[in-house]
């Protein structure tokens, strides 16, 4: 579909709607070693129950909703309720069963272990 059509399509489906929660892209760090891939994402204010991590068909999507309690009159506001969303392509070699996630101090840490078959192996050379 070309861009013009795409914009037109956006236009059509944009009927009057109530304000949704803002979407934001969390900042992430990604590290890798022989055993696993590590992903750290900043999600300040998000609690555990509002985080969703999905791995489906090679796509890892993380989403976290931040809801502050009863809003007071804000004199000055730089951030508000937000939904952090971001997707990544992950190699098929990730062992989906063993993925671990922890949330601490507003940082989501994902451990994506590589499956045994995918780990680099040292091949020993036999002397004849």
């Amino acid at each position: 579909m070309d861009k013009a059509q795409e914009i037109a399509k956006q236009d059509e489906k944009n009927i009057e709607k109530t304000r949704e929660i803002y979407e934001a892209t969390p900042a992430v760090d990604i590290y890798e070693n022989d055993d696993e891939i590590l992903l750290h994402a900043d999600m300040p204010g998000v609690v555990k129950k509002d985080i969703a991590v999905d791995i489906d068909n090679g796509t890892l999507s993380i989403s976290g909703v931040r809801k502050f309690e009863t809003e007071k009159a804000a004199t000055y506001e730089e951030f508000s309720d937000v939904e952090y969303v971001r997707s990544f392509s992950v190699p098929q070699t990730i062992d989906v069963e063993k993925v671990e996630a922890e949330l601490k101090n507003g940082v989501l840490r994902l451990h994506l272990p590589k499956s045994e078959a995918a780990k680099p192996r040292q091949i020993e050379i036999k002397t004849a």
């Binding site: 590590l38 750290h40 009159a73 804000a74 004199t75 000055y76 730089e78 507003g106």
Partner: protein
């Protein structure tokens, strides 16, 4: 110009689309797909609320522990300083580091003086909450009509 809120919404929708297209271009060049189209900021974002006798401050400080933060108050001047250490694990190859590290400082002038002895600060889920009781003179008073 914009008669309805919907028009503005639509405008932003189109901008999002443009951003996505740009993201795709960046991805094609092997760069970050979630490139953040905003100013990189090292200092935390701050909200200020006023609630009768108190001011409330919220600041986004993901990954910081309470020892990493310093809050200083003098009259109506508030300063939040801190240091964000790197949590790069040893022996890992780095693919992406978007989360800023280093020290930051933010200061703001509150609309009224606060009682610095009764300020409460809590750190929860990466957000710093400060409750700053207003100084007696700055508190709202109810005037009874005679």
């Amino acid at each position: 110009m914009f008669t309805k809120l919907n028009d503005i919404d639509r405008l932003f929708g189109t901008m999002n689309l443009l951003q996505k297209s740009l993201d795709n271009i960046y991805r094609d060049h092997g760069k970050s797909s979630g490139y953040r189209w905003e100013f990189e900021q090292t200092a935390p974002r701050i909200n200020l609320y006023e609630n009768g006798d108190n001011f409330e401050i919220r600041a986004e400080v993901p990954g910081l522990k309470k020892d990493d933060l310093n809050v200083k108050i003098q009259g109506n001047y508030l300063e939040i300083t801190g240091e964000r250490g790197s949590d790069t694990p040893e022996g890992y190859k780095i693919h992406k580091t978007e989360r800023g590290v280093g020290s930051f400082s933010r200061s703001l002038t509150l609309p009224a003086d606060v009682d610095s002895t009764r300020v409460e600060a809590t750190l929860k889920d990466g957000v710093l909450y400060l409750t700053l009781p207003k100084h007696e003179a700055a508190k709202p008073k109810k005037i009874s009509i005679s």
